[in-house]
Each structure stands twice: as structure tokens, then as C-alpha cells.
């Protein structure tokens, strides 16, 4: 399985003083799958994703993304990923088009290639109506879509979505789920959630995090669903 893995973590840990936010996490994430980190708030999901995205440095262990060590080959690893933080940050002084251009240029896209990439993600995320609107005027749903659009501009191998359905209304949640499923195959999608039902409908495999530790990994689906398994771990 390792040869196919988009992400390989071994003995990964993160300490803040005496507090262990992440403790001895080892897992492989396969290429092209939708992999979900499931757990309550404070269970270590976001810390894992931030380490994977290169935002936080691990205190111990190693993690690689698309064959690049996230710490030692940080720039190469970051070039292979698109990341949407939980807070869906967007520069409020920019219009949506300016924001997408800025993020595309940061990832080395220029000229016609950049404009083509923007046109592609705008169509995919249905952003035509807000393209020239100031970012600060966007609804939560559109902010989420713009944030995902910037993560897809450079067609990354791995897409990381931290709590992608947070704050969305039921219709937007369904749309987000369909989008994530559509990304699978071409991209490896790694997301986090604390909503069991949503995970079951979206992910191919799920990892349960509790108290900073990885408690188990399994495929979704099956007649009994995830709930009995999750409750047995919790």
C-alpha cells in the first residue's frame, strides 16, 4: 500500500509545552481516495492537517506528501497540495478574481495558464456571479467555494479541507459533498469533520482521532454503518 500512498505519517506527534495535541500517529492515505479525519473538537484533526499542510512543524515523527518529506522538502511538498483552512480565510481587500489571481501566481501560474486555471475553477465552483465582487461581501457558502477554488487552481495532487461543511446550510452541505466526491480519483482529498453522518456519505475511508491519538481506520459503507464502530472506540 505504501507505494500507492499519497500521505505517509510515522510516529507523528505535536506538543505545546506539556500538552500533547497529537501523539504517535502513523497512517497511510491512498492516492485518489476521500479520507476523513473524524473526532470531536480538540481531538487533533486540525493539528494533523496543519502539519501535513506545512503550517505547523511536528515535534516528533515524520510525514511525507506525494513522496516529499513535509519538513525537509517543505516547498516541494507544499507545491503538491491545495489547502482550505477551517476559517476559510480570504483577503477582504481583494475582489474574488484578484484573490484567485494572487493565489495562482503564488503557485507559479502566469499569463494564459493562470487565466485558464481561473476559468476552470470558476466554472467548477459556479463562481461566475461573484467573480468581480469584493471578498468581504461574500456569504459563507461563497467564501467556502472561493477558498476551495484557490486550492484547486494548480490542480494539486492532494486537497486538504478542514471542516469543509462548517457553517453551511443543508443545501450547501449537499453541494459540498457532491463536489468532494467529484474531486476524488483525480485528487486525493483529506478532510476533517465531527459529523458522523456526513463522513459516512462523503469519505472512502475514515480515521477516528480522540485525545490526539489515532484510534482506528476503516472503510466507510457496510450494513451496520460507522456508528457502532465509532462508539466502540470512543
Amino acid at each position: 500500500m505504501t507505494a500507492e500512498a499519497a500521505v505517509i505519517a510515522r510516529g507523528l506527534g505535536k506538543r505545546y509545552g506539556a500538552t500533547r495535541a497529537l501523539d504517535d500517529v502513523s497512517l497511510d492515505i491512498r492516492r485518489g481516495e476521500v479520507f476523513c479525519l473524524l473526532g470531536p473538537n480538540g481531538s487533533g484533526k486540525t493539528t494533523f492537517l496543519r502539519i501535513l499542510a506545512g503550517y505547523l512543524a511536528p515535534s516528533e515523527g515524520s510525514i511525507s506528501l506525494s513522496g516529499h518529506d513535509v519538513v525537509r522538502e517543505s516547498l516541494a511538498a507544499r507545491a503538491c497540495l491545495g489547502y482550505v483552512p477551517e476559517a476559510v480565510p480570504i483577503y477582504s481587500h481583494m475582489r474574488v478574481r484578484e484573490f484567485l489571481r494572487f493565489m495562482g501566481r503564488l503557485r507559479g501560474l502566469q499569463g494564459p495558464a493562470l487565466e485558464d486555471a481561473i476559468a476552470r475553477v470558476v466554472e467548477r465552483l459556479a463562481l461566475q456571479a461573484v467573480l468581480d465582487r469584493p471578498s468581504r461581501a461574500l456569504s459563507r457558502g461563497y467564501r467556502q467555494r472561493v477558498a476551495i477554488a484557490q486550492a484547486l487552481l494548480h490542480d494539486p495532487e492532494v486537497v486538504i479541507l478542514d471542516e469543509p461543511t462548517n457553517g453551511l446550510d443543508p443545501r450547501q452541505i449537499v453541494e459540498a459533498r457532491l463536489l468532494i466526491r467529484a474531486l476524488a480519483g483525480r485528487h486525493t482529498v483529506i478532510m476533517s469533520s465531527h459529523i458522523l453522518g456526513e463522513v459516512e456519505k462523503t469519505a472512502d475511508r475514515v480515521a477516528v482521532f480522540l485525545g490526539g491519538r489515532l484510534r482506528g481506520v476503516r472503510e466507510t459503507g457496510g450494513p451496520e454503518g460507522l456508528e457502532p464502530w465509532f462508539m466502540s472506540l470512543a
Partner: protein
């Protein structure tokens, strides 16, 4: 365009779409114009030494307001997470913010060139001290911006960032006064940290490499620490 160029452009765009930059520049030039007129009518001498010292003080008071948002705002709005997870070196982020802030600060200083032009038209100023004075101001401004960036990288609260930067600048300003109360060899160490001690000779026409080295060394140190801090997140 290089990634550094992209980042500088974004910083300049942010600076010139924010009212803070315009407000600070307006206050700076207004106060400076007022004091220039008063000084000129009272002393009737064709030099800018007083103006350079006023710009020195105004910079200490106003540059922290410009730099306070640099990294603190990125951290508060979580946009720092976007920047630091893109394939961008931390040093580029720091340099872009440093250079964009310097553009605004030097732009404010450039407004005072009008006073030099007025002196040139109506008097016979000694241009040497004017050139060295602007060199002193350029170095002073870069040090203040570098310190402001460092402090802004440590907090997400902009007011805290501005207050801390102001505090550090004031402590450096008055370091020579503190030095007189210390025993050797600490007195000479602290004396050498004095901001005004290294600014005054250049502002009055005496250029020493040690003074230039002081400003450059501290500026580079502050930028280095800012980069390290971002990298050690």
C-alpha cells in the same frame, strides 16, 4: 513576475487600499509642515537639522501604526495560514512586507524634499548635511519597520504590536540616558545601542560607518528573527 514581486504587489495593494497609510502620511506631513514653518521663521537658518530630528521623533511615533497590521492582521484573519501553506519561502513574505512598508515610509520622507527645495531656492544651504540627514532617516525608517515587523509577527493584536514597537523604539532612543546609570562594561554596551546616538551624527553631517553598521545590523537582525519566528511556528 517572481513570487517576491507578487507578494510585494499584494502588500502595496493592501497598504494603499487601507485608510491607515493615508492617515499616517497625512498626519506626518501636516505636523512636519507646521513645525518646518515655525522653525524657519524663528531661526531663519537654511538647514534641515531640526526637521530631521522632528522626522526622527514622528517616525518613532507613527511607523508602529503602519507596521502593526503587517503580520498581526494576517494572523488574526487566518490568511497567514494560506501564505505559509503555499510554496513560498518565509523570507519572501517578510521581505515583501518590509519593502512595502518602506515604500510608504520613504514616500512620507520624500514629502519633506519640498522643504529642501524651498531652502535651495531661497537660501544657500550646505547640501552635505542634507544628504547625510536623509541617509540617517532612510536607515532609521528601515530599522523601525524591521522592529515593527518582528513585533507584529509575535501577536495577532494590532494595538499590542504598535504599543510594543513604540516601547522598543523609545527604549532604544533613551538607551544613552540609561547607560549613565550602569557600571562598566554594561554602560558602553547600552550606550552603543542608543538610537539617537547613532542618528544625531549623520543628521548633522558626520557619516561614520559604525552608525550605518548599527542601523543595518539591527534591521537585518530583526528581519532574521521575524523569518525564524515564522519558520518555527
Amino acid at each position: 513576475m517572481s513570487v517576491l514581486g507578487v507578494l510585494i504587489r499584494k502588500e502595496l495593494h493592501g497598504t494603499f487600499t487601507s485608510p491607515i497609510g493615508y492617515t499616517v502620511a497625512a498626519v506626518f506631513l501636516l505636523v512636519l509642515g507646521y513645525t518646518f514653518s515655525l522653525t524657519l521663521f524663528q531661526t531663519r537658518t537654511a538647514n534641515l537639522i531640526y526637521i530631521f530630528h522632528q522626522m526622527y521623533v514622528l517616525s518613532i511615533l507613527l511607523v508602529p501604526v503602519l507596521t502593526m497590521r503587517s503580520l498581526a492582521e494576517e494572523r488574526r484573519n487566518d490568511t497567514l495560514e494560506l501564505l505559509l501553506t503555499a510554496p513560498v519561502r518565509e523570507i519572501w513574505i517578510v521581505l515583501a512586507k518590509f519593502l512595502a512598508n518602506l515604500v510608504l515610509v520613504y514616500g512620507m520622507y520624500a514629502g519633506s524634499l519640498l522643504y529642501a527645495a524651498i531652502l535651495g531656492m531661497y537660501g544657500e544651504p550646505d547640501w552635505g548635511p542634507i544628504y547625510s540627514g536623509y541617509l540617517a532617516l532612510a536607515l532609521h525608517g528601515s530599522l523601525l519597520v524591521a522592529i515593527g515587523l518582528l513585533v507584529s509577527s509575535l501577536t495577532e493584536n494590532q494595538v499590542v504590536a504598535a504599543a510594543l514597537t513604540l516601547g522598543i523604539a523609545l527604549m532604544l532612543w533613551f538607551a544613552d540616558a540609561a547607560a549613565y546609570m550602569l557600571p562598566p562594561p554594561f554602560d558602553s554596551i547600552v550606550l552603543n545601542l542608543s538610537l539617537i546616538g547613532h542618528f544625531r551624527p549623520m543628521a548633522t553631517g558626520s557619516v561614520f560607518l559604525s552608525d550605518i553598521g548599527y542601523f543595518l545590523t539591527l534591521s537585518i537582525l530583526a528581519l532574521f528573527l521575524t523569518t525564524r519566528w515564522l519558520r518555527e511556528r
